[in-house]
């Protein structure tokens, strides 16, 4: 018996060690970037010559970062909202109705997740150009075009996460509501939506993060004077390598971490992911 017990303990230890290595692998770059952001010297080198907050101040002094941040924020909020408005009914249809092309539809809605961002960006750019020529509408580099692209990459997340929580939903509580006198809309509002709320919140969070951090696709969709934060960072890097970039990254990491913590406070993310 002792042999089995110690074997199990060794197994558990090995599992913990493996998890630790994976975690360290994920966290190491974040730790270094954060550390770097507080270096005093301009050229990142080790060991640090001292520490300062000057690079964080530099962000606020840089117009491109500030306006990029605001645009990315606006874009992420709008794209996530539209993505939810489209993804939620789509997930409901997929979960509730069997119809011809059900599987195809389900795969198509997840497609933007697997198509490389560059490909997506080029495709949309070409589409915008062609559509602009055909219709005369100003599409290339427009805000509408940019939002449309971001909605596209948000939708797979909303569909997938809402679908997941719908799959775990006990249909009989909806029937209970109906037998108690609630019509379909009331049932959705009072019973279905509260029950899948964790999935909806998670969908919003992941949609937001995906849109906020998107670089590859956005490169093809931004126009003059309209730059998202990831693009502003890339452009800055073309000219300079100083810890400002690290500081910007830290701000981004902090923002996303805060969003996750706030979300987790309302719905336990570990229960959905």
């Amino acid at each position: 018996m002792a042999g089995i017990g110690s074997g199990r303990r060794a197994g558990r230890l090995a599992l913990k060690a493996a998890a630790g290595v994976a975690l360290a692998y994920i966290l190491t770059p974040l730790v270094f970037v954060t550390w770097l952001a507080f270096f005093r010297q301009e050229i990142p080198s080790f060991p640090p010559e001292g520490y300062s907050l000057r690079w964080f101040e530099a962000i606020w002094g840089n117009d491109r970062f500030v306006s990029g941040f605001l645009l990315s924020l606006e874009l992420a909020v709008i794209a996530t909202s539209i993505g939810l408005l489209l993804g939620l009914p789509a997930a409901l249809c997929l979960a509730r109705f069997g119809f011809r092309g059900h599987e195809l539809m389900s795969s198509l809605l997840l497609l933007p997740l697997v198509v490389p961002g560059i490909v997506l960006g080029i495709a949309l750019y070409v589409f915008h150009v062609e559509a602009e020529i055909a219709t005369g509408l100003p599409l290339v580099g427009s805000l509408g075009g940019l939002i449309g692209g971001h909605v596209l990459i948000v939708i797979p997340w909303t569909v997938r996460l809402v679908s997941a929580s719908l799959a775990g939903l006990d249909r009989s509580i909806e029937e209970a509501a109906q037998s108690l006198g609630a019509d379909r809309l009331t049932t959705f509002r009072r019973v279905t939506l509260p029950a899948i709320r964790p999935g909806v919140v998670a969908a919003a969070l992941f949609g937001f993060v995906t849109s906020f951090g998107n670089l590859e696709m956005s490169l093809f969709l931004v126009g003059p004077g309209r730059t998202t934060l990831p693009i502003a960072i890339i452009q800055y890097l073309e000219w300079k390598i100083d810890p400002t970039i690290a500081a910007v990254s830290v701000v981004q990491i902090a923002l996303i971490a805060a969003a996750m913590l706030v979300t987790d406070h309302y719905v336990k993310l570990s229960r959905i992911l």
């Binding site: 209970a176 108690l180 509260p194």
Partner: protein
């Protein structure tokens, strides 16, 4: 409460017939149990009444109102689900309030009725709890309270006790029955548990393969089952296949000649209830008395089941009371099994 009439209702899903020509009349204040094995159509019948399954043909009338085409939310039926289906994000009181809110019952009146129904099911102290903080039995009572509070025309119970443990089930059975009697609720209950059905019902409906096999009281079904299925599903029976060779004479496939009550000739099945068979009876007291060998003994406490072989092809189960000092025959022992012709139930036609 009101009278419920199900008239010639069939439900087909494509080629599959879930229920066929089900007709049933439930009187005001009556508790009718739909009894049958899984897949017999009893739940479909209940869902037709609740409005979740649209009948392919036939009609449903509730309190004189044809509700066949109405959606569930316009039917005023109180449905209790097998898994209770409580709203997980609402408290006990909010769960119960739901039906009243949907009917726009004024707040003071709603509060009074919620208090009343929670008192009735003894859940008042738990009104502020969430469903997950309740035991199975308590959740069951919330589901019942939620279905009763808006005074439904009919109460529908879908296997309401199957998720409770055996001990609790006995108590809840009595509780539901008393509540139903006190409030004179027209009730349809679905179950596959014959004991549950027998203890709770005013009348029972035995269903099999989507059809109603027999409707009647406990005595009707037990003493006068209409067919072999009912005889095997309600209570237990040993079956002997054979042929009626002369009025009152039955010859089994194994060659036994048995006395039966009068029935038309031809192939037939004889059903025998285990407790109506006697071991070593006084020969004058029985019409049939046959030698046999005990092949299996099952000790159940209050009673003992003896499986007795009467011929190469016939074996019967005899239930004997476990009296103090009585000698229970052992496996391999030769015994005599006897019964009155009246106690054999004859079904015309060959076996299954």
């Amino acid at each position: 409460m009101a009278r419920l009439k199900i008239d010639g209702v069939s439900k087909r899903y494509g080629e599959v017939v879930a229920i066929r020509e089900v007709t049933l009349d439930v009187a005001d204040g009556e508790l009718v149990v739909l009894l049958g094995p899984s897949g017999c159509g009893k739940t479909t019948t209940l869902r037709v009444v609740a409005g979740f399954a649209e009948p392919s043909s036939g009609s449903v009338t509730l309190g004189g109102r044809d509700i066949t085409a109405l959606p569930p939310w316009k039917r005023n039926t109180g449905l209790v689900f097998q898994n209770y289906a409580l709203f997980p994000h609402l408290t006990v009181a909010e769960n119960v309030a739901f039906g009243l809110e949907m009917r726009k019952v004024e707040a003071a009146e709603a509060a009074r009725r919620i208090g009343e129904v929670l008192r009735l099911v003894r859940l008042e102290p738990l009104a502020a709890r969430l469903p997950r903080q309740l035991s199975g039995g308590q959740q069951q009572r919330v589901a019942l309270a939620r279905a009763l509070v808006f005074h439904p025309d009919v109460l529908l119970l879908d296997e309401p006790l199957s998720n409770l443990d055996a001990k609790l089930r006995q108590d809840v059975r009595v509780e539901i029955r008393e509540l139903q009697r006190t409030l004179a609720l027209t009730t349809v209950m679905v179950t596959h548990d014959q004991e549950e059905a027998l203890t709770m019902a005013d009348r029972l409906v035995v269903m099999h393969d989507g059809e109603v096999r027999q409707v009647g009281t406990q005595q009707d079904l037990y003493e006068r089952p209409k067919d072999r299925f009912v005889a095997s599903f309600v209570g237990r029976s040993s079956f002997i296949e054979g042929e009626i060779v002369a009025p009152g004479r039955f010859r089994s496939a194994g060659g036994l000649m048995l006395a039966i009550t009068a029935a038309p000739g031809g192939p037939a099945t004889l059903a025998l209830r285990p407790e109506r068979l006697l071991i070593a009876p006084p020969p004058a007291a029985v019409d049939n008395n046959l030698p046999g060998v005990v092949e299996f003994v099952s000790y159940l406490g209050a009673t003992v089941d003896l499986h007795v072989r009467l011929s190469a092809q016939e074996r019967v189960v005899v239930e004997v009371p476990n009296r103090a000092g009585s000698q229970v025959p052992r496996v391999g022992e030769a015994v005599e099994v006897g019964w009155l012709a009246d106690n054999g139930i004859v079904f015309a036609g060959a076996g299954p």
